[in-house]
Symmetry: C2
Subunit: 129 residues, 2 copies
DNA sequence: CCTTGACCTTCCAGTCACGGGAACCCTTAT
DNA sequence: ATAAGGGTTCCCGTGACTGGAAGGTCAAGG
């Protein structure tokens, strides 16, 4: 199975798969012609990585999660700590974005949006503390 | 007024101020010794930029907003379009993060977080569609 | 006058997680 | 034999800075 087909199966671009090999997240074998030879375990890891990335985990987190995934003697507590920290970061980012949204929404609502130059949005950006 | 004091007044690091000059957002004058000479208008622009950035506008957006801010014959409609688009992007990012949060939260809740290796979080990352 | 320390300057490298594109090799079909 | 469509490596660019090195400037103290 060549890289493009693997890419389709796991839902990651070929470039990303090569990059993941570069940084040591996967270590596929090689065929005689130099092409990568992906084992089922490589496919599983890639799919795992794809799902973790889609949940917003950083590459560093993914590396740690993958190590836990591979380690049959892991403690689920270790996984839960990682995931909980990430969950907290997501919550913070949501709160920050909601604050931005509220402030900007306020400004936008009060802007006439016509041909006149007077604009509460620019006023807000220029003058508020 | 030297760059550090300006930085404190407008709430941006000196490095960022130099960077903003680099990319042409501000054009402070120079003193005889080569130090930057900031006019009040430079301070206003920097404060404006700081607030726009804190609302999540990209540098490209900030450049456009600054141009509108400087243009006395602008139409507030142009500002409103920019701000509304950004608002929509913020909303999308919030939705994405909330989806991640919901999924991950589900996984975390079902994880015992003890010394045993069995972990629903890893199961979820490994097996779900 | 000299030095010290705290400024300022420019420039280069690194961040994060890839994506684009060049230059070249391999396989398959015509 | 060649053309199309894989694959490979390698290098550069992204956004918005941040850190750090090398060197110029300034005010105060001995």
């Amino acid at each position: 199975m060549n890289i493009t087909e693997v890419a389709e199966q796991v839902g990651l671009p070929p470039k990303t798969i090569r990059y993941y090999e570069d940084i040591g997240l996967i270590r596929p074998l090689r065929q005689a012609n130099g092409y990568r030879a992906f084992r089922p375990s490589d496919l599983h890891k890639l799919a795992f990585l794809g799902r973790a990335r889609r949940l917003g985990f950083s590459i560093a987190d993914c590396r740690a999660l993958l190590a836990l995934y591979e380690d049959q003697s892991r403690a689920s507590a270790d996984v839960k700590v990682l995931a909980s920290q990430h969950l907290a970061e997501i919550a913070i980012r949501i709160a920050e974005l909601e604050a931005m949204h509220a402030t900007l929404s306020d400004l936008v609502v009060h802007c006439a949006g016509d041909q006149r130059p007077d604009c509460p949005i620019l006023h807000g950006l220029a003058e508020k503390p």
